[in-house]
Amino acid sequence: MTAAIEATDLVKTYRGDVRALNGLSLSVEPGSVFALLGPNGAGKSTTVKILTTLSRPDSGSAQVAGFDVLHQPEKVRLAIGCVGQRTGLDPEATGRENLVLQGRLNGMSGRALNERAEELLERFGLSEAANRLVRGYSGGMQRRLDIALGLVARPSVLFLDEPTTGLDPDVRAAMWSEIERLTADEGLTILLTTHYMEEADRLARRIAIVDRGRIVVEGTPEQLKSELRGDALHIQLGTAEVNGRVHTALAHLGEVRDIVVDGRALHARADAGARAVPLVLQALEQRGIAVESVTVARPSLDDVYLRYAGRRFETTETATKSEARR
């Protein structure tokens, strides 16, 4: 089966020599949810803009729903639905008018379009608000309508660019349920960008971590998490420390690795967290390093992010054993 989205070596440089994409490649299986996870400015949105024909890459190629984004943009546009980072709605039109216009632009008309609009309004809980101006909608309602607009023409690929950024936590949770229900739709492929680990973990079948314009690691949430063996130790120190002293204190223990000190925060990994904690505390105490609190956690996508997205690793001295980074 051919991929629903296939991107090869995308490079994009903006004016002022900002390199947004630096050889990004990805492949998304039809009918699956694929998440691009990364910090702001990593290149997630640029990737979506290129795949949705809004922007053109400097080099590289991409196919969406079997069509080339550079040479067949009209065909791509007919096959996709896009929910941008910002709301794309027309505030001076009603919810229904927004839907109907989008449907018409996609070549729908008459009863088929009216029924589709009605169905989506119902499904996204907007039936009562359908004839009110969008300008009076809440943030959550606008976001739901955005997604409804993306779905009106029954696309085969749906792009969701940070669909829950700026939403209240409870609205975000409701949005996740909506998106989960979408994935049950037959054949719909979803490419989602997010900087929330939890969101990618919950919604995506595969996750790619994007940093500095390229994908640094890709896999299922489980694969990514299992790459980090053992437990995560998070220790709050009494005073800010430089890495060297902490490293010297802990290195000989043999229990912990991937030691990172960021001000007063000390992160490390251990095969068995419960066994390592007393030894670590003892070693730190011997060196006169005060400890305020200790947490032991199973690895989360957060830790994967910390390891691969790289931002915190950049600013901190790392004491990496050769085994920690392959």
């Binding site: 903006y14 809004l54 053109r56 896009c82 941008g84 001076e92």
Partner: protein
């Protein structure tokens, strides 16, 4: 065919949005009336200047106010484009199966519709205030107002897409509106202007539209003169429309 249908959807969308802002509608309709009555009263004695050809200043002023209003209302067309650009609506439309030409055409036709409506109101008020003209002349001046207004609306959208900044657009439009109006025969007969302004006016699209409109309205028409200026305005509209469509590409390169 699809292109025309899409342009029609976009025009209707814009007009519907306008219609839903009653204050905006009221101001849009009242402003030209105010201009006509205000300037008509202010410059009334101009008609007494020796060598002034028209006996009634309102007769003379009507085409000038029609063109000035076209300029004033169409010049702000780019503002909605900037708002849509900031809101994200433009990005959604650009990833929809909608031709760029239809997107621009929709926005321009909305301006054209407003300009024509305002012109009709000005003509009606002018008639009530004593100006006299035939129906044919009135219909013809609408065409000139539409050409001038639509060209300026296209220019405004082009600037909007290149600058992506409301302040820049306001600055550019304000910078042009008054000089273009006052360096034309909108308020003053051309032969009574200083020589240098007469020269400048020869190249001023507002003057092309005003002088042609005045000839058509009074019924004393030099058809060669009017046809040449109509052609020039049409060419200007084409240039501005290409500029606006190109500006879309420049915007897309930047996103």
């Amino acid at each position: 065919m699809t292109m025309a249908r899409h342009a029609w959807y976009m025009t209707m969308r814009d007009l519907r949005a306008l219609w839903r802002q009653p204050w905006y509608v009221a101001i849009t309709l009242l402003q030209p009336v105010l201009y006509l009555l205000l300037f008509g009263a202010l410059f009334k004695s101009v008609a007494q200047i020796p060598g002034f050809a028209s006996a009634s200043y309102v007769d003379f002023l009507t085409p000038g106010i029609v063109m000035m209003t076209a300029l004033f209302s169409a010049g702000w067309s780019g503002m909605s484009t900037i708002q849509e650009l900031e809101r994200g609506t433009l990005d959604r439309l650009l990833t929809s199966p909608l031709r760029r030409v239809s997107l621009i055409a929709g926005r321009l036709l909305q301006s054209t519709a407003v300009v024509v409506l305002q012109s009709v109101i000005i003509l009606a008020i002018a008639y009530a205030a004593g100006a006299r003209f035939g129906l044919g002349g009135a219909a013809a001046i609408l065409v000139f107002a539409a050409l001038l207004g639509t060209a300026f609306a296209a220019f405004s959208n082009g600037v909007a897409l290149l600058s992506r900044n409301e302040q820049t657009l306001i600055g550019a439009v304000n910078f042009l509106i008054l000089p273009l109006t006052f360096l034309s025969a909108a308020f003053m007969q051309k032969s009574l202007m200083p020589a240098w302004i007469q020269h400048v006016a020869d190249y001023n699209p507002v003057n092309w539209a005003t002088e042609s409109g005045r000839q058509l309205l009074t019924g004393v028409t030099d058809w060669g003169f009017v046809a040449l200026r109509g052609g020039l305005l049409l060419a200007l509209l084409a240039v501005c429309a290409v500029f606006a469509t190109r500006a879309f590409r420049s915007y897309q390169r930047s996103v």
